[in-house]
Subunit: 335 residues, 2 copies
């Protein structure tokens, strides 16, 4: 198989996005800003209670690879849908971007995963996720040749929620390293970190993962550390290759050993929906990283991609990011 | 049954919206700006060829009643989905707005209708529609008490495409008039007018329809008249109660007999997607009309609602239009 840039592995999810207000979140006991796993009954009840929605393909690692190819990179995705209407929508959306996606869909129940994303007027998103077919993702879904051909294999911490995916990831990491490739992960969500803190630390400290993406809350949760600076230092120390910590409106910090590179956020006119901000930062950073750019330029691609996606509804960029002049300038493309 | 404002009847459709360019429309032979009916094979082929999409409930009359209740009116909807995932999405979206929707879904095939809407950079939308379960809408789906209780029964000309819906509409019109109610229709699309010109003229001239909504192209197609002014005059003369002709950026004209009321369009910062513009004009106008406002104020509500929806992706307003200060001012609501 020919070398390509990024293999992304995650929960394959269709987002059901609705505008709401804080009173609704409170009434429905939805954890603001986080991701909560829900079962079939709760999914039905919450959907019946929420307002009219828009459906779009999502899933953290799916959004990242979508952003990555939108920035001109080459990418593949592994994630499990069911052989149903939402599954066909997910597969169409990711393939139509040019992402290689061959994971065999599940025949029958459970149905394709969905995340009810409630967006408040402040642009903050609160997610209630029914994992559905994602619980069936396992080692058999990992194609060895695909992993061997990818410069970087990237996965989401959320994969520790379904039962078998973590085995798939450990296998993939072994294959990647045996072929001289690198492995990256996102810590996904501070609640997710709290669920799997010891395992995530082990993944990082053992070198199973080379590159770690986290936001401030996730970095602090990982080390149960209330001082952000200390948490960042520790993450930089533990990460085998490097760590990237996103800080919302304050931009991001890339740490390689003790050395920090700080990049401010882009100017944003109006935040509509923060869904996908972290995913798109990872997309941008990895696009630069796999192209051999400096950490600073890679991080600049990250903040540009993140800044773009929060000014629209939905987690995947609606236009090709590679056409943005500021992206072209960094990637050295003329035209 | 208690009186309510608007009963809206139409093809119940889920929109699959993707950004594209003119080259794609040309390559795929998609008629720009219009609505083309497609079969299963063409639907599959076009979907495979088009880019990543966003799914949202649509259908012309569905959009109108969604906008109508968003403007504070009371509404019900009749339209046929199948008992599948997209059908459940459609039903959820319209009910969650507060629209009464009780049409029995079709058990099994054909699936819920979908319209692939390709939006070009100029904001223009081109629709390819697979009618699916809509072909099963018939007279049995019309609840006599519902029609009798609605101040206005509104339907879309697109209903002449499926085989049985026109009988449902003629029945509904008879019930409405027997109860002293009014009937409104939209001509939907100039291609649709060309398909059913004689029948549409008969509906209007016989008084089966009291209020007619049309855009310029539809009015001219109805009379095979290349002079817009003449077409508008003829429509005003034929329409039993009144006609409303929308003119895009030039606003609209309301004609009652020979008398014209002209209202300019609202200022629009950036047209993102014109899908739903005509539907939302009808929503706004009918909201004013059923509240007893003047034609001018009703038309102002129409252009405000239309101007709002073309600045977002998707045909239904994402926020409650009744909260817009300019809407409150016209409806005389304080707060």
């Amino acid at each position: 198989m020919a070398e390509f840039d990024l293999l992304s592995i995650g929960n394959a999810i269709v987002d059901i996005i609705a505008q709401t207000d804080d009173a609704f979140l409170e009434r429905e006991a939805v954890q603001k800003g986080g991701m909560t796993l829900i079962d079939t009954d709760r999914a039905r009840q919450l959907y019946a209670a929420m307002g009219p929605a828009v459906e779009t393909s999502g899933g953290s690692a799916g959004n990242t690879v979508a952003g990555f190819v939108s920035l001109g990179g080459t990418g593949a995705y592994v994630g499990k849908v069911s052989d149903d209407e939402l599954g066909r929508i997910f597969a169409h959306d990711i393939r139509s971007l040019g992402v290689e996606y061959q994971t065999v869909p599940l025949a029958g129940d459970p149905p394709t995963a969905r995340s009810m994303i409630l967006v408040t007027p402040d642009g903050q998103r609160s997610m209630s996720t029914y994992l559905g077919a994602c619980v069936e993702l396992g080692p058999d879904d990992i194609d060895e040749a695909l992993v061997a051909a990818a410069k970087v294999t990237y996965f989401e911490g959320y994969l520790w929620d379904p039962p078998l995916a973590k085995d798939a990831i450990r296998n993939a990491a072994t294959i990647a390293h045996a072929n001289g490739r690198e492995v990256a992960m996102t810590l996904s969500d501070s609640f997710c970190v709290n669920r799997y803190r010891e395992e995530f630390l082990e993944l990082i400290r053992s070198g199973t993962v080379d590159i770690v993406f986290a936001n401030e809350a996730e970095a602090m949760a990982l080390y149960q550390e209330s001082d952000l600076d200390t948490a960042i230092d520790r993450l930089g120390y533990d990460a085998k290759r490097l760590a990237a910590v996103t800080r919302g409106a304050d931009g991001c910090i890339i740490i390689e050993n003790a050395e920090r590179v700080e990049v401010p956020a882009t100017e944003v006119e109006r935040v509509l929906d923060t869904t996908g901000a972290g995913d798109l930062f990872a997309a941008g950073f990895l696009r630069g990283y796999t192209a051999g750019l400096s950490h600073r330029d890679s991080a600049r691609l990250g903040v540009i991609a993140a800044g773009h996606v929060i000014q629209q509804i939905g987690p995947r960029p609606m236009r090709r990011l590679s056409e943005l002049p500021e992206v072209k300038a960094i990637l050295g493309v003329t035209g």
